[in-house]
């Protein structure tokens, strides 16, 4: 075509980015890679092909790490970690700073390599992935610098096994490696087998930065290597980003191992557009939401909810916008949508759309796809019902599905009608509407009038089956630290056996019942057991709760929780103080009860009651003081890190401190706005059943605290498998930690279990921020503004 013709056509034409430097780097490395262990590359072992999804070409051969490779990597990390942790925060900060600088120095090489390996448009790797990765290292250099003064009394976890996905290979590496290193851990990281190359380039710059050997180790390979990491006995923490299905397996596999775990999993994030939104900006937001990285984004705004009155107009304009999207060679600088990661994923997307599109109205713009490579056109399917498979299941492709709503509350209801809870977008020009809806959405990240905004300072992570743990910010750093308090083994506390000739029961004995929904309830099974004092005397009978009692208690808690969470912190504090007041009035009676049940000294019992009163005051104090934060993110606006209640928490209370333990668990939970189902001390349950009378007289709304007495071992499973429970804690002396973690995989509920370790309930470990953090989810709400 002549220039004259081009003036008439005004077509964009090709604008290719050069692959030369990246290809030269691969050639320099022999096109074959071993693993990066103890500061050096191993000789390539058994290898597999890493292909460019846009062309199908083989880019390099990458090693499938063996068990021996992994052992070597873990051993190197183990050896390096103590020395790395002993470095000053400043020394670690310098190293992280050097990594950030080197990512910037090699920015274009990283971007080109990433696009060739992954298929994402060069614009995205160049303008988004690589700058964000560098930013992550800068930010965490700062955290390393401040760690010792800002978080005293914390130590690193040790060796972290990190498994990352193929959708943001370098960025996910940064999200994993930077906080781990800042906190003083050593890492063994496995990139996805489709996209190992940027991690191997990162290994190169670790050497260039002079990072001590063994602090970062990279093992390549497929899911089998990931499984070996998860099962490796000398790894202290697993951090995984990937599918919910694999996340569940990891939860099950690590149950009871004592490994710390953070999971960043799938999503089906709602994108809500109210009638008073800037429609064109909301549509452009969708381009960044679902056609970013070909929709292969865990937090993609993939579920469009539009207010009914503007739906036709919105969809019309959206279709017109879709027609302008350019799909093709990801190395072209004028491309919006690149290649799908591999033929397997392309087939999955194709099959899901083929199977489900018939339930709605399908639109795909008339665009020509490249003949070679893995491509899927931008797709919109409207008119789906919430029950449609495509509205429920994550597609992980450039496919937007949608329906309409009528009112703000219906929008929230539809948005939350999902097993996932990663992210959400809300579009409205009405500040009242937007800020009312945002915190009601069940998601870890919420964008007001925006989408897919990320920054190292702001926590990212999910609720529900989108996983747990946060990446970014102080909260993300916390995933790589633990309190520096060595815990002793917890001895099982046994039931007191009856005397040979038990005394008859007092005919007017108060019958201890379960406490459910603010009412005393007999156990559904109709059984109770005698509780004996240390000399075998019968102190009373306690109900033996079962599955159905757990069901009823959870139902009551679920019902009560939203209203309780909506109460002000001041209001919750008043009630906690009131509980203390009423307990204080009966202090002598509780002292006697503890003394009679546990057989300790009277003074010891008295001290426990006193400590319980103090603990109620502690959390009454915290109820309106566990403030969120405004994060220093690079937008004109704010990112609010809000401490939101987890929801319904089930807790097995300590056996050894029947009253103080129960209150130490209950008080932080309800102070933060949760409702809870408490299973009290198994051998000494009567303090708890006395205590519900205190609750009853303290204006606590029914259902906020529910008490189910019974055998911990038999109640652990019903509580931990219950799909309407958001978190389970266990401080029991029964051996139930592993079972709870395993059972929690069902809905990926958060778990906090003692793994058979003791806790000093009367001391510092018995209260404080650890409890508050466990009682909250950090919800990050991004609010850009501008007149």
């Amino acid at each position: 075509m002549t220039v004259s013709d081009l003036i008439d056509s005004m077509a964009y034409g090709p604008a290719p980015e050069s692959a030369a430097e990246a290809l030269a780097w691969l050639v320099d490395r022999g096109d074959r890679f071993g693993c990066f262990i103890n500061g050096a590359f191993t000789a390539p072992g058994e290898t597999f092909e890493s292909r460019n999804p846009a062309t199908g070409e083989v880019l390099a051969l990458v090693t499938q790490a063996s068990a021996a490779d992994l052992d070597a990597a873990v051993a190197a990390a183990r050896k390096a970690q103590p020395k790395w942790a002993r470095l000053s925060g400043h020394a670690r900060a310098r190293q992280l700073y050097a990594l950030a600088r080197l990512i910037q120095k090699h920015a274009r090489l990283f971007a080109v390599l990433e696009t060739m390996d992954n298929g994402k448009p060069i614009r995205e790797s160049r303008d988004i992935d690589v700058p964000l990765a560098a930013r992550h290292f800068y930010y965490h250099a700062g955290l390393a610098q401040l760690l010792a003064t800002e978080l005293p009394g914390h130590v690193p976890l040790g060796v972290c096994g990190q498994i990352i996905p193929w959708n943001f290979p370098l960025l996910m590496l940064a999200w994993k490696v930077a906080p781990a290193l800042a906190a003083g851990n050593a890492v063994v990281l496995k990139p996805a087998e489709q996209t190992s190359l940027s991690a191997l380039l990162f290994a190169d710059i670790c050497r260039e930065a002079g990072l001590p050997k063994g602090v970062v180790n990279i093992v390549t390979g497929d899911g089998a290597v990931g499984e070996m990491i998860v099962g490796h006995p000398d790894i202290d923490k697993i951090a995984f980003t990937g599918s919910t299905e694999v996340g569940r397996k990891i939860r099950t596999a690590t149950a009871g191992s004592g490994k710390a775990l953070s999971l960043e999993l799938g999503g089906k994030s709602p994108y809500i557009v109210f009638e008073d939104a800037d429609i064109d900006s909301a549509i452009e937001g969708l381009v960044d939401a679902i056609w970013f990285n070909q929709g292969q984004v865990c937090c993609a705004g993939s579920r469009l909810l539009v207010q009914e009155g503007i739906a036709d107009e919105f969809h019309t304009r959206l279709r017109a916008r879709m027609t302008g999207l350019r799909i093709g060679d990801p190395m072209d600088k004028c491309i919006d949508i690149g290649a799908i990661i591999d033929p397997v994923q392309l087939a999955r997307i194709t099959d899901m759309v083929a199977a489900g599109a018939g339930e709605g109205v399908l639109f795909q713009p008339d665009c020509t796809l490249p003949e070679q490579g893995c491509y899927f056109p931008p797709t919109l399917i409207t008119g789906l019902s919430p029950a449609a498979t495509l509205m429920q299941e994550e597609i992980f492709g450039p496919v937007l599905v949608g329906t309409t709503f009528r009112t703000p509350s219906e929008a929230v209801q539809l948005a939350n009608d999902t097993r996932y809870g990663l992210a959400a977008s809300v579009w409205s020009e009405n500040i009242n509407l937007a800020l009312d809806v945002a915190p009601k959405l069940a998601a870890g990240v919420i964008w007001v009038n925006g989408t897919n905004m990320f920054d190292a300072a702001a926590g990212f992570g999910g609720l529900r089956e989108s996983g747990f743990g946060r990446e970014g910010g102080w909260e993300g750093l916390g995933e790589y630290l633990r309190p520096d308090s060595p815990a002793k083994a917890l001895k099982p506390v046994r039931l007191v056996a009856p005397a040979d000739a038990p005394e008859p029961t007092d005919p007017l004995e108060r019958t201890a019942k379960l406490y459910i929904g603010g009412k005393q309830a007999r156990p559904d099974g109709g059984y109770s057991r005698a509780v004996h004092g240390t000399r075998g005397r019968i102190l009373g009978h306690v109900g033996l709760g079962g599955r159905k009692d757990i069901r009823n208690a959870v139902q009551a808690a679920r019902k009560a929780q939203p209203g309780w969470a909506a109460a002000s912190g001041h209001n919750r504090a008043q009630i906690l103080f009131y509980v203390a007041e009423n307990l204080s009035a009966r202090a002598a009676e509780f002292t006697d009860r503890l003394h009679a049940m546990t057989g300790g000294t009277k003074a010891h019992a008295q001290a426990e009651v006193e400590a319980s009163l103090e603990r109620l005051f502690t959390y009454g104090a915290w109820a309106d003081k566990f403030d969120g934060q405004i994060k220093g993110v690079p937008i004109r606006g704010a990112a609010l890190a809000m401490n939101m209640p987890v929801g319904v928490i089930g807790a097995f209370c300590p056996d050894e401190a029947p009253l103080l333990g129960l209150i130490s668990v209950m008080a932080p939970a309800i102070a933060m706005g949760n409702a809870c189902v408490l299973v009290p001390s198994e051998p000494f349950p009567l303090a708890a059943t006395d205590f519900y009378q205190v609750l009853d007289t303290s204006d606590l709304p029914g259902g906020v605290v529910n008490i189910v007495t019974g055998a911990h071992a038999s109640l652990a499973d019903p509580l931990a498998t219950h799909l309407d429970v958001d978190a389970v804690w266990s401080f029991s002396s029964s051996d139930i930690s592993a079972g709870i973690e395993r059972a929690a995989a069902g809905n990926l509920k958060r778990t906090w279990v003692n793994q058979g370790r003791a806790r000093d309930w009367a001391g510092d470990a018995g209260a404080g921020r650890a409890f508050l953090r466990a009682a909250c989810e950090v919800k990050t709400v991004w609010i850009p503004w501008g007149a």
Partner: protein, 352 residues
């Protein structure tokens, strides 16, 4: 709330019955001789639709994000870039708006408008007949401009209505338009009364522009919003809609004299208003960003914005102009670079 567009027919050329406030029928027939590139019917306007005006919402952060991402999303290289830059030249309103303008200065500018890019470079690219879109001057310079452009087919645009502040007496402003049209200007760039926007007196703005349009007669009306003085993008959107309803042929960002002139967010806001107006009425209204666009790279980004947001039909002089004085020089140097492979110098290109 009534959904957008429901009460308005779509894709209908002229949905509005003629009323007292709409332009006279004779207005709609543009003189083809003066404006050879005109190929679509003029926007007849609409009665002021305040529901629609008030519905306009602009989220500044959203608009800015789109604008920030656009240069990274769109890249034009090689022969395509040369073609885009030559297209940009054909869309320039080559402008001089200075107190010290003289007939000689204007004649020089007009010569540049006739031959905006060195002949040897155009020969090398095989392009002939390239001129700028128009020449834009003050009223007193219309006659010298017409004389200098005789036979070229290049239209003369005159700024008017007390440009740039627009605060001279209303009758004077109308008379100024009439005088410029009588003097032979085929395009009139008027300034709106910013106070009407800032006080929300949309009716007054509408009436003013309707009167200006009537005074223009066959000449095309470009309404300068002076967006740098309107406070918010929402005001820009609303003022754009009101001007289009009042019968503007073009909406234009700025006089070039405000502290902030044509920015991409302002442009995007106006372009989206044009798109919405077209979707609702079928009428195409032109767009002219003016002031602050001075590099070839800027021009490419603006053209990509127009192409992606409005469509290729708008990449023509009857629907898009750059109001610029120094842009041409940078484009010429880029064209020479494309032809020779060597970076150019300003003095290698004849001044205007």
């Amino acid at each position: 709330m009534r959904p957008r567009g429901v009460n308005r027919p779509r894709q209908v050329p002229d949905p509005v019955p003629q009323t007292d406030t709409s332009p006279a029928p004779s207005d709609t027939a543009a003189p083809a001789a003066a404006l050879p590139q005109i190929s679509h019917p003029r926007n007849p306007g609409l009665p002021l639709d305040m529901d629609w005006v008030r519905r306009a919402r602009v989220n500044r952060s959203g608009v800015e994000r789109r604008c920030a991402a656009l240069p990274g999303r769109r890249s034009v290289k090689g022969a395509y870039q040369a073609a885009w830059l030559l297209k940009a030249v054909s869309l320039i309103d080559l402008t001089t708006l200075s107190g010290d303008d003289t007939p000689g200065r204007v004649a020089r500018l007009c010569a540049k408008a006739r031959q905006p890019v060195r002949a040897d470079l155009l020969d090398a690219l095989g392009v002939t007949g390239l001129t700028t879109g128009a020449v834009c001057v003050y009223h007193e310079m219309i006659a010298p401009a017409l004389a200098a452009l005789a036979g070229s087919g290049i239209p003369v645009a005159a700024v008017s209505t007390g440009f740039p502040a627009g605060l001279s007496p209303f009758a004077t402003r109308l008379a100024e338009i009439e005088a410029s049209v009588a003097a032979g200007a085929s395009e009139i760039d008027i300034v709106i009364s910013r106070r009407h926007v800032l006080t929300g007196d949309w009716q007054a703005l509408y009436d003013e522009v309707v009167a200006f349009r009537a005074a223009c007669g066959p000449a095309h009306l470009k309404t300068i919003l002076a967006t740098g003085e309107l406070g918010t993008l929402q005001n820009v959107a609303r003022a754009s809609l009101v001007c289009m309803m009042a019968g503007a042929d073009f909406i234009k960002t700025s006089t070039g004299k405000e502290p902030v002139n044509a920015t991409l967010p302002v442009g995007l806001t106006m372009v989206r208003a044009i798109r919405e107006y077209h979707a609702a009425t079928g009428q195409r209204v032109g767009f002219k960003p003016a002031g602050g666009i001075s590099t070839a790279k800027d021009a490419l980004v603006w053209l990509a914005l127009i192409k992606d947001e409005l469509g290729e039909r708008w990449l023509a002089p009857d629907l898009f102009r750059f109001g610029a004085s120094s842009l041409l020089g940078d484009i010429e140097r880029q064209i020479e670079h494309h032809v020779t492979g060597a970076y150019s110098a300003a003095w290698r290109h004849p001044m205007g």
